[in-house]
């Protein structure tokens, strides 16, 4: 087995290998359209609450989560890398454990909350057309953020992440 001390290019080799791994994290063609569907499903929640009283508000949230989990499962299968958020990891590793792509994930969460509130207020004041425009813009924003999230993780893979 080769010894690192006899190989002055060991760190360079590791950089090359990380680049190879990062190149695998290219989302398949269906990933971003699938993300758009997931966010669009989530965006219908406020409309359903107002106009479809028979549809459970939480069922829409569960449906959105199911599509998102399916997308992450497909991404892991296609790329060989599991990169999805692990909220329960906070319990084991603390709140500030290293996680690439966290800024984009937080931005997605904040946008979700803000859009939900905005849609709620607009629908309550009868401005349904404006609420639809907000929902459509939110889907585009969330897809862009989801793409940014993957790019951040890909960059972390290139840089070496926490062990850089």
């Amino acid at each position: 087995m080769r010894d690192v001390a006899r190989d002055p290019a060991a760190l360079e080799l590791l950089r090359v290998q990380r680049n190879r791994l990062a190149d695998r994290l290219r989302p398949p063609w269906w990933y971003l359209p699938g993300a758009a569907i997931a966010w669009a499903v989530g965006g219908t929640g406020e409309f359903a609450l107002r106009y479809l009283p028979r549809v459970d508000y939480w069922a829409i949230g569960v449906a959105q989560l199911a599509v998102w989990c399916l997308l992450q499962w497909g991404l892991a299968r296609a790329t060989g890398l599991k990169v999805g958020p692990r909220p329960l990891r906070v319990l084991r590793d603390g709140l500030f454990y290293y996680r690439p792509g966290r800024p984009a994930l937080i931005a997605m969460f904040v946008v979700s909350l803000a859009v939900g509130e905005t849609e709620f207020l607009l629908i309550r004041h009868g401005r349904v057309a404006a609420a639809i425009v907000v929902a459509a813009l939110a889907v585009v924003t969330q897809v862009v953020l989801q793409r940014t999230w993957l790019q951040e993780i890909r960059q972390a893979l290139r840089d070496g992440g926490a062990a850089a």
């Binding site: 290998q17 791994l21 060989g80 890398l81 599991k82 692990r86 993780i153 070496g160 062990a163």
Partner: protein
């Protein structure tokens, strides 16, 4: 030559194959599939299999076996212990690299052809 090196190497991940495996697992993904790791590291199935067992026994790597249909899938992830060991070892390597480049820099030929 190693006057500026204060970090300590980890003899277990000193061999380059184990360093590659740990370095790739630490990079940013949570779990990495066996084939993805093998392709990125540029090693054979048997080498990765043997080294991953050794790393697992040492507590540096966690291995989870599953299947998609009939096809078996093995996922690997770096443990907190593995991450700590790798960080220390990479710090040592970086210091070593700096020390080597500093010492070779001081041995560049002077204007008269002699070594400075």
């Amino acid at each position: 030559m190693t006057g500026g090196v204060t970090a300590k190497p980890d003899p277990f991940i000193h061999p380059i194959t184990r360093l590659s495996i740990c370095g790739l697992l630490a990079a940013g993904a949570d779990w990495v599939e066996f084939a993805a790791l093998r392709d990125a590291a540029g090693i054979s199935d048997s080498v990765l299999s043997k080294q991953s067992v050794m790393l697992e026994d040492a507590g540096y790597v966690e291995v989870r076996k599953g299947a998609v249909g009939r096809r078996p899938r093995t996922w690997l992830r770096l443990t907190a212990q593995g991450r700590q060991a790798l960080e220390g070892h990479l710090a040592w390597l970086a210091q070593l690299e700096e020390a080597v480049s500093a010492s070779t820099g001081s041995l560049t030929p002077g204007p008269g052809g002699g070594v400075r």
